[in-house]
């Protein structure tokens, strides 16, 4: 067999639609034999929080306010026409109606496919987040240089 192909994605946005793109690409690539690495930074960290709704997660007053306002995977807004949070519910309905995997299903598939989840140390520090705030599938807390080593030799995307 040929050397394993590799896809690494920097998941920066916490938006519902952009996270859907991240997990669609990631699961599709893993399913056809790619090694897949997801590096969550800034708002992207919301996707891997244990608390999926709005919750004051984080150490310190400001991080807790951010945590409460942003929430986790289930409270992620759509990047356009969010309509105060109504649109993600409409999207989920349309996805189910058309037999397209929802964001939550894609995340579960990513876990089952053994995709590597990494969290950005610097963004965690700013947002007052700790490893215990994230789902257990998060393999490691890393910085830029570690990510570059992991991504070396493959394709890298920023979403």
């Amino acid at each position: 067999m040929n050397e394993q192909k590799k896809l690494s994605i920097i998941s920066f946005s916490g938006d519902f639609d952009k996270l859907t793109a991240v997990f669609t690409l990631a699961t599709g690539a893993a399913a056809v034999g790619y090694e897949v690495n997801l590096f969550f930074t800034f708002w992207g960290l919301d996707a891997i929080k244990i608390e999926q709704g709005r919750s004051p997660v984080g150490k310190g007053f400001l991080p807790r306010i951010f945590g409460l306002l942003m929430g986790g995977l289930k409270s992620s807004p759509v990047s356009r026409l969010n309509f105060s949070g109504v649109s993600p519910h409409i999207f989920r309905y349309m996805m189910r109606k058309n037999n397209v995997a929802t964001l939550e299903e894609l995340v579960e598939a990513a876990k089952e496919l053994g995709i590597n989840f990494y969290a950005c140390e610097m963004a965690m520090h700013i947002l007052g987040l700790e490893k215990k705030d994230f789902i257990p599938e998060v393999k490691d807390i890393i910085g830029v240089t570690s990510f570059l080593k992991i991504a070396d030799g493959g394709q890298t995307l920023f979403i």
Binding site: M1, N2, T27, G28, A31, V32, G33, A101, E105, A109
Partner: protein, 76 residues
């Protein structure tokens, strides 16, 4: 025929067509066969080639009696 499992992906879309095939294959023992039902399009075009690339044996790709539905047989 060796022990086999069948999955119907005719109502699924990308990427779940590939994801469900991969997960089903990972659960089989070596030598067992997976039968995948797909419609025409990306899944039919790419599931056989990606299975071959990952070291599985594609035994056959055949058209079924149901309109537009194809059957892919893959041995682990």
């Amino acid at each position: 025929m060796a022990k086999y499992q069948q999955i119907d992906l005719t109502k699924e879309h990308c990427p779940m067509t590939f994801v469900k095939t991969k997960i089903a294959l990972s659960k089989l023992q070596k030598g067992e066969v997976l039968i995948v039902l797909v419609t025409e399009g990306e899944a039919l075009e790419n599931i056989p080639s990606s299975a071959t690339e990952q070291g599985y044996e594609v035994i056959s790709v055949t058209k079924t009696e149901k309109n537009g539905v194809h059957q892919i047989e893959i041995r682990k």
